[in-house]
Assembly symmetry: C2
Homo-oligomer: 160 residues x 2
Amino acid sequence: MTQGKVIPTSAEVTAMRKVTDHACNLHMQGKDIVFTAAIVWQGQVVAEARNEVGDINDVSRHAEVVAMAKAATSIGQRNLAGATLIASCQPCEMCLSAMRWAGIDRVIFAAQQANTDSAFFRFPALTLPDFHAACDGAFDWHGGLDEDRVAHIYAPGVAG
Amino acid sequence: MTQGKVIPTSAEVTAMRKVTDHACNLHMQGKDIVFTAAIVWQGQVVAEARNEVGDINDVSRHAEVVAMAKAATSIGQRNLAGATLIASCQPCEMCLSAMRWAGIDRVIFAAQQANTDSAFFRFPALTLPDFHAACDGAFDWHGGLDEDRVAHIYAPGVAG
């Protein structure tokens, strides 16, 4: 159930490979926060981003939120209906909500909550299926794509 | 239960009056999106904001998120533990999550979800008590302060 029903397209698989490469590269550089994301729209990556919280002291600048803002600029509208959110780690509750504000109903992520540090979520008792049910199934997802490439970055205990 | 357990301080009551004034003024000017917010820290308003989503095409720029970013700049740190989030309307799921990322455990709002348009929430089946329970009670709230001043702005049906 938690893996979700979305079947990634080849464009999405390629985008995820770039997103996980991005995370792995930052991690190898010793960066503290290495979440990464991208937006696929009409078969193309229209935005790529990493977590910028530490850059500008704004807790909302998670990679997914930054990616959506960049995509809105790129395509000239903030309504991203039809786009796919690609993320190196399962989006937190804030990012999931931002995704729905952007009208996105399709999300694909690598590391799954069950396999990551609990510090990456703020309402840990609410799962993705809970959010799915709470909006009457308005979005769907695929979790675990390329998870083996980034599992070490987000594993339980890494947040100390 | 939905009103919450927080008892507003006089500084918070004053801040809410400013926040609702701000919303009412924007509404009277015919602005489309008139959510407003502020951050109270050590008895002082250290940030005031309105929804800026339409300004920069970024769905994350809700008034609460902007207020927290401004407060972080104002006090020089993004950890806002000890601060209070003041909002003209019950924070949506994204803002509630951002609040917890900022370490804020106290939120006071005017219009309550039950009395507002359903378009202002993305996971309507999840209530504030649900989020409260899902983080083991890590925050508390007071809803309905000065609600009579802004109820007309957020009433069911206003979002068309």
